[in-house]
């Protein structure tokens, strides 16, 4: 049976959800052009931060437009990249004369369309740089990071870069910080059942009832492989080990060791409940504590989703003093809000 969806015209789902998002922001953001969301009152000369991607993964990507976060988002149709003219419209709207940084997940369709958008923007004398988010360690080995997908790690990355963009004086400076935030952020996801395509009700992929897709991407892309269904306490160490191994193997970053400080993010892909996330978090913290890795702050919730897909992901962002300073800044948006500082601090 197709999943019951409370929608109107299936072909207008993306437009209507962004209209709803504007209402949720209650005047904080504008709907711009064909389908972009842009913060009101971006200061002159600010180095602008633009995010974006396909719709249907709410509350990302467009939900990350907000105070001390992204200045705008170019929103695609359901699970589809925003076309170049939408990217251009969003770019023009956020540009305040000091360049625009594009920060989004590494998917072929997104890269092609944002690249064309950047070329169109440059024809209008807007300087654009791009930093791709590639936190999914199961999508390619550390020597081929350009083939990795962007998943839940984009939330801490956009938070950090959004904070840095408030005081960055040049596009160079913001680009460098964004590259560091991406390099320091690694994720592993698992899936237990698919989401559905809103227009058709069809599942986005297939997986056996008694299996878990280890390392599977948010659209059902293949990862490490299918493993038998298991418990939270059995699965959690397997997921964390994949992240630890990636920090170990990657020559571009030091291994995680005792005394390191991290952000830890437990994400639900949609229908996995807060109860399940908390049970996984409990086990994950036990493992992190045993290793002497300090959890500077925790994020828990369904922030990077694919409709009613079930599954979770863990993301670890390794912090240094600079990143901690940007993390401590408060932020507010539909997707993620926090006060000054950090939990427990």
């Amino acid at each position: 049976m197709a999943h019951k969806k409370l929608i109107n015209d299936p072909l207008k789902v993306a437009d209507e959800l962004v209209e709803g998002l504007v209402e949720a922001y209650n005047g904080e953001c504008d709907f711009v052009g064909a389908r972009s969301l842009v913060l009101k009152n971006i200061p002159d000369n600010k180095v602008a931060l633009l995010v974006g991607g396909g719709s249907g993964h709410e509350p990302i990507y467009h939900g990350l437009v907000g105070r001390n976060l992204a200045d705008g988002a170019a929103c695609g149709d359901i699970f589809a990249a925003p076309p170049p003219d939408i990217v251009l419209e969003a770019t023009q709207a956020v540009s305040k004369g000091n360049g625009v940084l594009y920060l989004y997940g590494n998917y072929a369709g997104d890269v092609m369309n944002f690249d064309i958008g950047a070329e169109l923007a440059e024809e209008e004398d807007i300087e654009v740089r791009t930093v791709l988010i590639w936190d999914d360690v199961c999508s390619a080995p550390p020597t081929e990071k350009n083939k990795r997908r962007g998943i839940a790690g984009l939330v801490p990355v956009v938070k950090l870069v959004g904070a840095a963009s408030q005081t960055a004086t040049s596009l160079d400076e913001l680009e460098a910080l964004a590259k560091k935030a991406v390099l320091n952020t690694r994720s592993v996801g698992v899936s237990m059942s698919p989401g559905s395509i809103p227009a058709t009700g069809k599942p986005t992929f297939e997986i056996d009832e008694d299996k878990i897709g280890l390392g599977m991407g948010i659209h059902g892309e293949p990862g490490v492989g299918d493993i038998p269904m298991t418990t939270a306490d059995e699965l959690t160490p397997q997921m964390l080990d994949l992240i630890f191994a990636d920090f170990d193997k990657d020559e571009d970053i030091d291994a995680l060791k005792e005394g390191d400080e991290i952000l830890f993010f437990v994400n639900s892909l949609g229908s996995t409940t807060m109860m399940e996330l908390l049970i996984a978090l409990r086990k994950a913290r036990e493992i992190l504590n045993t290793k002497g890795i300090k959890t500077y702050d925790v994020i828990v919730g369904p922030l990077v989703t694919c409709q009613e897909m079930s599954g979770i992901s863990f993301s670890i962002t390794k912090l240094d003093d600079e990143l901690k300073k940007y993390w401590d800044l408060p932020c507010q948006s539909l997707c993620y809000s926090k006060m000054e500082g950090h939990y427990g601090g």
Binding site: G76, A81, P83, N113
Partner: protein, 211 residues
């Protein structure tokens, strides 16, 4: 009597003919993509070509590059995804290379295919042999350069034959890009849907020049 050169508005009419032919071919493209991909290529191209017609019909163009570029932008904005980006790039980048001239002949034909093909390869990263639209485009571009001293009808006829042969050759290839790559060797025997579209586009250009 074949046309010796095309005016900017002839180029527009040629591209509208291409759009109509692709829309008419939607079932063929859908079948071709269903064998290898998710079956949405035909519908995507149909949507793109309807947008192209809306943009081109009733518009006067001063130079030959403009209708091609307008077609590229219309495809990009209406199709979305990777196929909108690569097909849009073919027409936008290829169109730019045609230049602000008022007659389109074999030189412009070669410029269109050479730059358009380079643009597609840069954008999508596909090489010949990857079983993509590039397998029809690269032979078409090479042929267009080779025959740019001929008449327009001889040139476009040779280019269309090269694209058709390239599309046929894609049947024997193993897909390494896009959704079809998970099929591996099972992709052998079917032409790439993007290459099928390219062959239809070039054949329609030939028929327009011949009429």
């Amino acid at each position: 009597m074949a046309k010796e050169t095309l005016s900017p508005n002839d180029c527009r009419d040629m591209l509208i003919a291409v759009a109509n032919k692709i829309i008419e071919s939607e079932p063929i493209l859908t079948d071709a993509d269903r064998a290898l991909g998710d079956g949405d290529h035909g519908i995507g191209m149909e949507r793109g070509m309807n947008a192209v017609k809306e943009k081109l019909e009733g518009t006067d163009f001063e130079t030959a590059d403009k209708p091609f570029m307008a077609m590229g932008m219309a495809m990009m904005s209406s199709m979305g995804g990777a196929s909108g980006a690569v097909f849009g790039t073919l027409f936008r980048t290829g169109g730019k290379a045609v230049g602000g001239v008022d007659t389109f002949g074999p030189e412009q034909l070669a410029a269109f295919f050479t730059s358009g093909t380079e643009g597609v390869q840069t954008r999508g990263g596909a090489k010949p042999g990857d079983k993509t639209m590039v397998d029809a485009l690269v032979p078409a571009a090479e042929k267009a350069e080779e025959v740019k001293g001929s008449s327009l009808i001889d040139a476009i006829t040779a280019v269309a034959a090269a694209a058709e042969a390239g599309k046929d050759a894609s049947k024997a290839m193993i897909a390494t890009m896009g959704r079809a790559k998970t099929l591996g060797e099972r992709s052998i025997g079917h032409p790439d849907a993007g290459a099928v579209s390219v062959a239809i586009i070039v054949a329609t250009m030939r028929d327009f020049v011949a009429s």
